[in-house]
């Protein structure tokens, strides 16, 4: 996959959600993700990654901080925002 995903995107850098692999997510997960405001075209920023080995990530979406597991973050593709 050419584009970055939220799981590996550098911290504290603005990004725009390009696509979300909704099909890779379980239906309740996909719904919760939508409810938290994740959608194509939305701006996000990775804030923190928990413990070194594969813990969840915390990202900023709108004015909210949301915790996600990496598997979910891996299906959110993002592209960097210039500047």
């Amino acid at each position: 996959m050419a584009s970055d995903c939220l799981a590996t995107f550098p911290r504290r850098r603005n990004a725009t959600v390009s696509t979300i692999d909704w099909t890779r997510l379980a239906p309740p997960e996909a719904r919760r993700l939508r409810e938290l405001g994740f959608d194509e075209g939305v701006e996000v920023q990775v804030l923190h990654r928990a413990t070194l080995g594969g813990g969840p990530i915390a990202c900023k979406i709108g004015r909210m901080t949301v915790a996600l597991r990496r598997a979910v973050a891996a299906s959110i593709h993002v592209s960097p925002v210039a500047g």
Partner: protein
């Protein structure tokens, strides 16, 4: 025209400050009940409108949409659509939205407005939004939404008069409430509309304040974060055992003097001994632990109210994932160290059913406060307090070891359960992290008060009753005069005890323990008073009665027996309240019975292993 006061539902996203607004509007005039079957708490209260009309206000559980994914959210959906079997159709709604989080909260608000009921929007926490550099225009918001919008700061009681005035108008125009259909606009379409409205309503915006980011940079740091969590937990348990000693000693002294006063003023006889040896000694032995429990709850309430608890869940997620649970389970499990009952109730926020069930099933393995009296008594009597390392003594080490064995047991149990009876896809961890905030003193005080009342009620009812019943069963029938048979052995309880003894003898338990196990089903701490009562009644020669309980234990129990008894209490589900709450939360007898079965089996095996190992190494 109905006789009842109009019903107004308070609805909104989690973290919108809904409960704070509810508390500000109703003050002390609120009732906490339960929605039957789902054990979702129902908070309701009465307020008066400007024209003096009373209105019933009900605080519904926070939700993200009308498409429920947990029992809490189902209650909210059913009530607002008017399809709840336990709640009237609401006449109007107050929709609470966080001013700093419009995009998200407006989406749910739009869904709620589409239901067609009279709505007043409370634009809450406007002060925090402004502090964060966000200026909003409520008038634009009101125009776009087509309903009145009132800026409020619930914790400072700002905007409440406006809110009541608009509510009066909304109710005045209301047509009789009827069930409504779910709006069928898709989530992404709603989200787009919400974003457009939010954009129009924002006058100016600067990036969010830095300090919250700094706090999270520390609290969620890959190395510093876990260290901080361990430190907080260490301080918490340390405080529980050190701060509590002074008030606990005072309570103990109070009960001792009450006992002394009764002994001095009442005639000697069976009734006096029932009151002093049974009631006062039994209930007193339990109430002594009130300070410890309150300190533990104080920490848990502060961690929750400050927003840190979700950060702890974030840090724990990786570890919990290895046994197929999520970080969310950490919150109820931590509460279970105080008491498994509120812990099991706190699992309601876990969306995944299998995940929730597993958490419920392992919650009783956390060392709840009811075990402390048992551990303290046995360890104090049987384990020498020799220093092992600087600052570490053997008694403390054994206590800590029991705590760790409980956690390890829960870990193994979760691992096995998730691969067998609660098998299923690993559930996710997706959570909004609330903003940090100073916990409000009134809210913490109210929380502590509620816990104290529950605890004292329990001590005054279940524990008092069990102790008295045991006392009676131990005293009758009396052995024939001069027969030389011990009165305990001759009594009804003694005969039942001998039956139990057959089963527990292989794991090193004696008659005293067999007698204590049955009443301890009511509550673990009863074991302490039960053993005390057995010795008090068994004491045929008055002299031995002066001996302290600890001395008697030393004389009659071997060390392997004591260790096996401690191990038993790590695992055994000796608590009727836990079994009852599990039945309620899982809607049936299947899971509580399973829980009791697997925990008793584990207790029997672990106590047996402990006993035989201890005997083998010659303790």
């Amino acid at each position: 025209m109905t006789q009842a006061a109009p019903l107004v539902a308070l609805v909104g996203n989690p973290n919108a400050g809904k409960s704070a607004l509810f508390n500000a509007l109703t003050g002390a005039r609120q009732k906490v009940g339960n929605y039957p079957g789902v054990t979702v708490e129902r908070h309701s209260g009465r307020i008066a409108l400007d024209d003096g009309r009373p209105v019933e206000l009900v605080d519904l559980p926070g939700a993200y949409s009308l498409d429920p994914s947990s029992p809490d959210e189902r209650v909210t959906r059913d009530v607002v659509t008017g399809r709840s079997s336990f709640e009237r159709v609401p006449d109007a709604m107050i929709v609470v939205i966080d001013a700093a989080n419009l995009d998200n909260h407006l989406r749910f608000a739009l869904q709620l407005i589409a239901l067609g009921r009279p709505v007043v929007v409370a634009l809450n926490m406007v002060d925090l939004a402004e502090r964060d550099g966000l200026v909003l225009d409520p008038a634009v918001l009101a125009r776009e939404l087509g309903v009145p919008v009132v800026p409020t700061v619930a914790v400072r009681k700002r905007g409440l008069d406006d809110l009541r005035r608009h509510l009066t108008d909304a109710l005045g125009a209301a047509t009789p409430a009827a069930p409504a259909d779910l709006p069928d606009e898709s989530l992404s379409a709603l989200q787009r509309r919400a974003r457009a409205i939010a954009k129009a309503a924002i006058v100016s915006e600067t990036p969010a304040r830095r300090w919250a980011h700094w706090l999270d940079a520390v609290a969620l740091h890959p190395v510093v974060g876990p260290l901080l969590l361990v430190t907080i937990l260490f301080v918490m348990f340390q405080a529980v055992f050190t701060w509590a000693s002074v008030p606990a000693d005072m309570i103990d002294a109070g009960f001792k003097s009450l006992e002394g006063w009764i002994t001095a003023h009442a005639p000697d006889g069976f009734l006096r001994s029932l009151v002093t040896d049974g009631l006062i000694a039994g209930v007193g032995a339990v109430i002594v632990f009130l300070p410890q429990i309150l300190i533990l709850f104080l920490f848990i309430l502060i961690l929750e109210a400050s927003g840190y608890m979700v950060r702890a869940a974030f840090l724990m997620d990786r570890l919990m994932a290895t046994v197929g649970l999520s970080g969310r389970a950490f919150i109820p499990l931590l509460s279970s160290f105080a008491c498994a009952v509120p812990g099991i109730m706190a699992t309601r926020t876990i969306e995944d059913e299998k995940d929730r069930l597993t958490t419920i099933l392992i919650a009783p393995l956390m060392t709840c406060s009811a075990r402390w009296p048992v551990y303290t008594l046995i360890i104090g009597a049987m384990i020498p307090n020799t220093p092992v390392l600087p600052f570490v003594r053997l008694q403390g080490l054994v206590m800590f070891g029991l705590l760790i064995i409980g956690i390890a047991g829960a870990y193994v149990a979760a691992l096995v359960l998730r691969r067998t009876v609660t098998k299923g896809a690993s559930s996710g961890f997706m959570m909004e992290m609330p903003k940090y905030q100073w916990p409000r003193l009134q809210d913490i005080a109210l929380g502590l008060w509620t816990r104290a009342v529950i605890f004292l009620k329990r001590a005054g009812t279940i524990i008092a009753a069990t102790t008295v019943v045991l006392c009676l069963l131990l005293s009758f029938p009396k052995p024939p005069e001069g027969s030389g048979i011990s009165p305990v052995d001759y009594s009804i309880a003694g005969r039942i005890g001998r039956g139990i003894e057959v089963v527990v003898k292989p794991i090193g338990f004696n008659r005293d323990i067999a007698l204590a196990l049955l009443p301890a089903m009511a509550a673990r701490e009863v074991a302490v008073s039960a053993i005390g009562t057995v010795y008090a009644i068994d004491n045929t020669d008055g002299e031995a009665g002066q001996e302290a309980l600890t001395d008697r234990l030393r004389g009659r129990w071997s060390l392997p027996t004591a260790l096996a008894f401690l191990m038993w209490f790590v695992f055994a589900p000796q608590c009727i309240s836990t079994i009852a709450v599990t039945r309620r939360e899982t809607n049936g007898w299947k899971w509580p019975l399973f829980m009791v079965g697997y925990l008793f089996a584990a207790a029997y095996i672990m106590a047996g292993i402990t006993y035989w190992l201890a005997v083998a190494v010659g303790l």
